[in-house]
């Protein structure tokens, strides 16, 4: 698992927000953390599940991605994109194909105390819609592109006030 960890502890100061800033007091602004916008707990399927089971579970939970669990570890993520491009696109049999064959790996994660804007940059750059979120290297939540919209749309109202 490739994990980006900044530091932990609430109330971190926004040192990473703007690298051109000087050290005036006005720059000590609290930033919104990934953890404030993620959904938790995360949903997962076992590594020997079939893609059909994964798809059914995804839609029962009304979500667009599932983590794949092997024993006590998360080993990958399976998303609607994987199901569409790999299973449908290559004509794999959903009943016999295991999720491990189509999942995306390694998992790219970010620490929950990082600024949410870092998550946006990362997700944009890597063209992903779902980002597993860690605390002390343990996955505790999931941040989706919808959560980013919620964050940015909300903060735009703050600007307006």
């Amino acid at each position: 698992m490739k994990s980006i960890v900044f530091s932990s502890g609430k109330g971190l100061r926004a040192m990473t927000n703007d690298n051109n800033k000087n050290n005036s007091e006005a720059d000590d602004i609290l930033f919104d953390e990934i953890g404030d916008y993620m959904s938790s707990p995360v949903f997962s399927v076992d590594h020997d599940s079939t893609v059909q089971e994964a798809a059914q579970y995804m839609f029962a939970c009304n979500i667009g991605s599932l983590l794949v669990k092997e024993f006590d570890n998360y080993v990958g993520i399976v998303t609607e994109t994987d199901l569409s491009r790999k299973v449908v696109g290559q004509g794999l049999n959903p009943e016999t194909t295991q999720v491990t064959r189509v999942m995306t790996q390694p998992l790219e994660t970010m620490d929950r105390f990082l600024p949410i804007e870092e998550a946006n940059r990362f997700m944009h750059k890597n063209k992903i819609r779902h980002l597993p979120v860690t605390e002390n290297d343990v996955i505790v939540g999931m941040l989706s592109v919808k959560d980013l919209v919620a964050y940015y749309a909300r903060s735009s109202f703050k600007v307006q006030e």
Binding site: Q52, A55, M58, E80, T81, L83, G89, N120, S155
Partner: protein, 146 residues
């Protein structure tokens, strides 16, 4: 034209990069309603997109998304080489005019729980706006006037 670049309609408008037309991807390609779903998935893969508009007689009649492919084809194990796009597409195609404010698109997507909107100009589909485009819009406060 690559994604997230400002497209030419914006130059004809008085507003300051707040309309759907400023953030949409244009032009859009389409797939015939009689095509098979495997073909739709292959287009999504090769063009790195999450949805394709569905055409019938040169008219856009619906949209097929990763959600349709996953929820209907994979979950129900439909045959990808005999199932037609027409049978699993989402219709009607929900769209807004390119002169509408992006906030309206956000509202519409949240309400309908969708990730892609058709964008029209003079009632003709000219582009697509995705949830990712919404993030691009909201994440750039400098570009906004309010």
């Amino acid at each position: 034209m690559s994604k997230h670049e400002i497209h030419h309609f914006s130059k004809e408008q008085e507003s300051h990069l707040e309309t759907i037309g400023d953030y949409m991807t244009s032009p859009v390609s389409g797939i015939d309603a009689e095509s098979f779903v495997r073909e739709a998935a292959q287009i999504m893969q090769s063009e790195h997109i999450g949805s394709v508009f569905v055409k019938e007689n040169d008219k856009f009649i619906g949209i097929i998304t990763e959600n349709d492919l996953s929820r209907k084809v994979v979950a129900e194990n439909l045959d990808t080489e005999t199932t037609k796009v027409r049978n699993i597409m989402t219709e009607p195609l929900i769209s807004l005019d390119c002169s509408e404010h992006v906030a309206k698109a956000n509202q519409m997507m949240a309400q309908k729980k969708i990730r892609h909107l058709g964008v029209t100009r003079n009632r003709e589909i000219v582009g697509v706006l995705s949830v990712r485009d919404l993030v691009s819009f909201y994440a750039n406060p400098r570009m906004r006037t309010w």
